[in-house]
């Protein structure tokens, strides 16, 4: 009961910060646009119209190629950029959320076990050390190489990629919590490990989990865009922000907006999640700062 209040208090504090509130509203707007995509565009993101390809948008209304209705222009196959942006956001955001979610569940599981049981710590921590030897996207690339190119596989790759950092941070937090007096008090009245972990350790680690998760969503969205840019994430013709940038690159001389627009979408989303994560950390768990 008290814990719910702590999260609510943190949320209220968050909304007192102007920048954080702005980011929060922006993300909510983006979610509404992306989820309700059919309400905000009448175009099919896959429908091609070769004759009217690479038409500019509102910034060049005087251009003879400008097409009424396509306010962000069309791409190299005449598909509406605004529609692709909205439907592409569905893919980018859902992969970002889903892979972060699974990363948290599995990472927290191992992190709690490693932090709570000394015997398991050695095994789990060494395994995480091995996963940490793959820098940057390398681990995700290895997993995609193993499973094959597909949206689902990219999501799996990104989940697995986020497990070691979750596990390590949660382990650190659990080690701190475990040493606190009230845990010893609960243990001395005969509470079982399961009760201690579920009712006390996990709940006390929750602020840390929320902070890491918020930041991780940002990097997951960046990762799916990166994988798709490399041609190893979402297969064509499904719209996705990274693959839009990748195909737009061929049109860099004639239609640079095909690169600029989806890139801005990725940047805004990632920056907002990072700012929210930063502020949440200052409120909930300043010890994570380094």
């Amino acid at each position: 009961m008290k814990r719910e209040n702590q999260i609510a208090v943190a949320f209220r504090k968050l909304l007192k910060n102007k920048l954080a509130t702005f980011c929060f509203i922006l993300l909510i707007l983006e979610l509404i646009l992306v989820i309700g995509a059919p309400l905000f565009t009448k175009f099919d993101p896959l429908a091609q119209d070769i004759i009217h390809h690479s038409a500019p948008g509102f910034w060049a209304k005087s251009s003879p190629k400008y097409m009424e209705g396509h306010w962000l222009g069309t791409d190299e196959l005449g598909r509406d950029v605004w529609a692709r942006l909205l439907y592409g956001g569905r893919v980018s955001l859902s992969v970002g959320f889903i892979s972060t979610f699974f990363g948290i569940i599995i990472g927290t599981f191992f992190g709690v076990l490693a932090g709570f049981y000394k015997k398991l710590d050695m095994l789990i921590s060494r395994f995480m050390d091995i996963l940490f030897t793959f820098p940057g996207v390398l681990l995700a690339l290895l997993i995609v190489a193993m499973l094959g190119v597909d949206t689902k596989n990219a999501a799996i790759a990104i989940s697995i990629w986020s497990i070691p950092s979750f596990a390590r941070m949660i382990r650190g937090r659990v080690l701190q919590i475990k040493e606190e007096e009230y845990i010893m008090a609960i243990r001395s009245i005969g509470a079982k490990d399961k009760t201690i972990i579920l009712k006390h350790v996990l709940i006390n680690a929750l602020p840390t989990i929320i902070v890491i998760a918020t930041m991780r969503i940002a990097s997951s969205i960046m990762s799916i865009a990166t994988l798709s840019y490399l041609g190893l994430g979402v297969p064509t013709p499904t719209p996705e922000w990274g693959s839009m940038i990748s195909t737009g690159k061929q049109m860099i001389f004639d239609a640079p907006w095909l690169i600029i627009i989806p890139g801005i979408a990725v940047c805004i989303t990632v920056i907002c999640f990072n700012i929210l994560g930063d502020k949440l950390r200052d409120i909930l768990d300043p010890s994570l700062k380094d």
Binding site: I130, T133, M146, A225, T226, G231
Partner: protein
């Protein structure tokens, strides 16, 4: 100290073995049959089986891994399934390009990121500090492939200042420098932003410490206090971060190489994944991860040299 280094070396060997097992196992269980890929699309069933035997793929998993590890220790990463060339040779041609890019990006990140972080700390809460902090937050949020493409758009397509891609000379030569500016900026941005954030917070910590107050109360000039007393300790967290950052650069280089059409290990790896050339994927992943492990070891040792307070246990 020697004991500590030996211990770290032993740990490094264990890490390399564990990592190589993971790489080997994950590609062993990958979809698709390497023998079929090596034999080519028009091969008959017998030819595929002959190829399987030739490649040793009909042996049990642990025998195959044992052989692979044994060959790896002798500097042999097998042959490419497609070109039939030794993978070590194919990688050797490309390593210099990747290292060239990563080192240029690292230097740029140090030159730009560290001083800006220090300045932000010294001018805490000023407009400059706020601006720098915001820029660094934006810096870690921009995907490097997009930033790189934007640089191409601005400096190559519009202004015609730099070449659009390719990196064939080392960055300290005149030609190489021109080629390196954009890729190194694209790749180094996130690391520079990271250094700025860490540098700022560590410098703030140091500036609040007792010995800095002592130095100031002795009447030392502010410049001496900062440069002689604060800087060395303020740099320690950045040095720790350098190992991880260099790894990030190696990973990021895979992507940046694609943007700027640089023929490095990253390009080789991406092609290998697309062609399902498993031995080449194995070799290049192994090489990048091993480089990362070695760099981390070097940084750990450097760390002891810079900060003698660290215990070697």
């Amino acid at each position: 100290m020697a004991k500590y280094i030996l211990k770290r070396l032993a740990l490094m060997v264990l890490l390399v073995i564990g990592m190589s097992f993971l790489v080997f196992a994950s590609l062993y269980f990958a979809q698709g049959d390497p023998a079929e890929i090596a034999a080519g699309p028009s091969a008959s069933v017998e030819e595929v089986e002959a190829m399987r035997h030739f490649l040793g793929l009909d042996q049990p998993f642990f025998v195959q891994y044992g052989n692979y590890l044994w060959n790896m220790l002798h500097g042999d990463l097998g042959t490419s399934l497609l070109s039939r060339q030794p993978i070590v040779n194919e990688l050797a041609v490309r390593i210099p390009n990747t290292i060239n890019l990563a080192v240029a990006a690292m230097l740029l990140a140090c030159i730009v990121g560290i001083p800006l972080g220090m300045i932000a700390a010294l001018k805490k809460d000023s407009i400059l500090d706020n601006a720098l902090t915001t820029i660094s937050l934006a810096g870690i949020s921009v995907p490097n492939f997009w930033f790189g493409t934007m640089l191409i758009l601005l400096f190559c397509v519009r202004l015609h200042i730099f070449p659009t891609g390719g990196m064939t000379s080392f960055f300290w030569t005149a030609k190489g420098f021109r080629e390196a500016v954009l890729p190194a900026t694209a790749l180094g941005l996130q690391v520079a932003a990271g250094f700025m954030r860490i540098g700022r917070s560590s410098m703030l910590d140091v500036l609040q410490s007792d010995y800095i107050r002592t130095a100031r109360s002795k009447g030392l000039k502010e410049r001496v206090v900062v440069v002689v007393h604060a800087l060395r300790n303020g740099l320690i967290p950045i040095v720790t971060q350098m190992g991880t950052s260099f790894g990030g650069l190696l990973g990021g280089a895979i992507v940046t190489e694609q943007v700027f059409a640089i023929n490095g290990i990253g390009t080789y790896l991406i092609n290998a994944i697309n062609q399902r050339n498993y031995t080449a994927v194995q070799g290049s992943v192994l090489l990048i991860a091993t480089m990362f492990i070695v760099v981390n070891l070097i940084v750990d040792i450097l760390y002891c040299v810079i900060d003698p307070r660290i215990s070697y246990d």
